[in-house]
Symmetry: C2
Subunit: 344 residues, 2 copies
């Protein structure tokens, strides 16, 4: 295969990625011990295991296993590599935390092949049955690097994301990714569980659920995710999640004190203004039934504050550092063409 | 007019209610000092002020003003009543807290005419421009009573809600309503503001917003509500909101401690299980783009745990107490027919 991709793990995200790549005409071979049969029936090319997947010698291997399985899957891939002399794949992933995945991949001896990746798209459902090509089409990705990241491998991943997948890519360090997604993904998952948990324990639970409407439905949606998956995500990113939770605890305690004493509470309700201003029109579009990723994706949130103009960065010199620097200030790669990255 | 309704205040909820009633063929006259002209252009019958609305002698007057204006609007209505001898309207409202509205209405001398009401439907937008008949069609309502509530007036409100508006009605005390909506509406609004506020203050804000996707969009949706409206709602219900916020603060602090020390966190992620189990299929339907109220409304959340069977309660004896008792255990009124209330 020419620019083939191997996908190891066919759950919600891996399954959706394999479907999206195949829909875009990219040769894909995938493997999953549980849902392989189901995926084959859905028209995907399935290998029996990682070793058989390796025999197809894809250019890029995406580790899409659950976080807790990342170490063992990386080890399997390393073993398969040893059995395929001359095969030189780039290894990437779709994990929701990046530091721990890089550690797992490095431990397996695959560190030099690795570029971190995380598509910011999902649902509260799990498994291949819930996967769809749409879930991975045109969504924002984080692509994480270190100073040691091979520029050619980074380019391969950026081409996949911005090309056949139609997404955007924020080139970030693992740390910046993990800190940012704690704020916009992991802590929202925690607070959704808090809302559900508070109702579950309340004497007025039955009445409350009869009165639950839009604010509860939306505020708790991701609280319907498999609790083990959410717990793994939060636990793996504990270092960044815990401080945001402590901040929330302090803020909510302060607000409760002020409510009890009729003190002013403007600070709490006005504090989000910069974000409300910035999201602006995308926020306004929120009620119109956008699918996951639309309102805050490629054309959404970030576009406002960073300017809509496209800037071209030539892929010469230490261009990965240049992309990292620009993305750290809020830009994203929207396309690659003629030795140039286009950022917005 | 025969079963006419007067609507005082044509913001998001009042405007939507007036549109829904008119769409159902109920004679409606409404007034609003700001959006009266806009509403007239939209085909509603508009009175210049409360006194002119009173001249139409509607059977039911709905106070749909902002919470902070409730006292003055109730006083205006009391004055208009004095000028219309023989007019005997029932007074109700659509306020998101019920105890304080009852106090305001009683202060104006309208307490005996009053039945509390709160439609569990809304969006993060404000004003008549954002209103629509759909927003008030087939949604769950709370209808609040005291032992002194006039059964005939209660029946009038229940008929409106379950008849032309196609909704369900949970007959509750003000206290039970205020406690329950703190859990399923007010605290979700607070946590949405917390999520937005934490990002607004973070050094990595720009990157975080570029990576924000579905969990952030849904978790913050109601955080895009006019902050003064949210603050008024939360402040008016401080007595019930504050304890839930303290509970959240304690839970989040404990979770942060456990994350920092690699202690087990199952309790936090498993605690919502009873609610996840109960919402079940409605939860599964959450991603299919239901409009506000659908997933958790009449046919949704509550139906599961309380049994889907319809029970008939005759409207004889102290039937308001009987409805209150059943609704306090999680039932709702779905229809009224032939001297009978049907509950589910």
């Amino acid at each position: 295969m020419s620019v083939g991709v191997g996908v190891v793990g066919l759950g919600l995200v891996g399954g959706s990625l394999a479907r999206a790549l195949q829909a875009a005409g990219v040769p894909v071979v995938a493997t999953d011990p549980v849902s392989g049969g189901e995926a084959r029936a859905a028209g995907l090319t399935i290998a029996d295991d990682v070793a058989h997947l390796a025999a197809n010698r894809p250019d890029v291997v995406v580790l899409a296993a659950p976080l807790r399985a990342m170490r063992s899957v990386a080890a399997e891939l390393a073993e398969a590599l040893a059995d395929e002399p001359g095969w030189d794949p780039t290894v990437t992933d779709v994990g929701s935390v990046k530091g721990p995945v890089r550690d797992a991949v490095a431990e397996a001896g695959l560190g030099e092949r690795y570029v971190g990746a995380h598509p910011m798209s999902g649902t509260e459902h799990s498994g291949f049955a819930a996967s769809s090509a749409e879930l991975m089409q045109g969504v924002p990705w984080a692509v994480t690097v270190t100073p040691a990241t091979d520029p050619d491998r980074l380019l391969q991943v950026l081409r996949l994301v911005t090309g056949p997948l139609g997404g955007t890519a924020a080139v970030l360090t693992d740390e910046l990714h993990d800190e940012a997604v704690a704020l916009v993904s992991h802590v929202p998952h925690v607070l959704a569980n808090q809302l559900l948990g508070a109702v579950a324990g309340a004497p007025v639970r039955d009445v409350a659920l009869r009165l639950a409407a839009g604010s509860f439905r939306d505020g708790t949606r991701v609280g319907f995710t498999d609790p083990r998956r959410t717990e793994a995500m939060v636990t793996e990113n504990a270092a960044w999640v815990a401080p945001v939770l402590r901040l929330a605890a302090r803020d909510l305690e302060r607000l409760a004190d002020e409510l009890d004493s009729n003190a002013p509470t403007h600070w709490f309700f006005d504090r989000p203004e910069p974000v409300r201003d910035r999201i602006g029109r995308a926020g306004t579009a929120r009620v119109t039934g956008l699918r996951p990723g639309d309102a805050t994706g490629a054309a959404g949130v970030g576009a406002a504050g960073t300017g809509l103009d496209v800037e071209a960065v030539p892929l010469t010199g230490d261009w990965p550092a240049e992309l990292l620097s620009r993305c750290t200030r809020g830009a994203v790669v929207v396309a690659l063409e003629d030795g140039t990255a286009l950022l917005r």
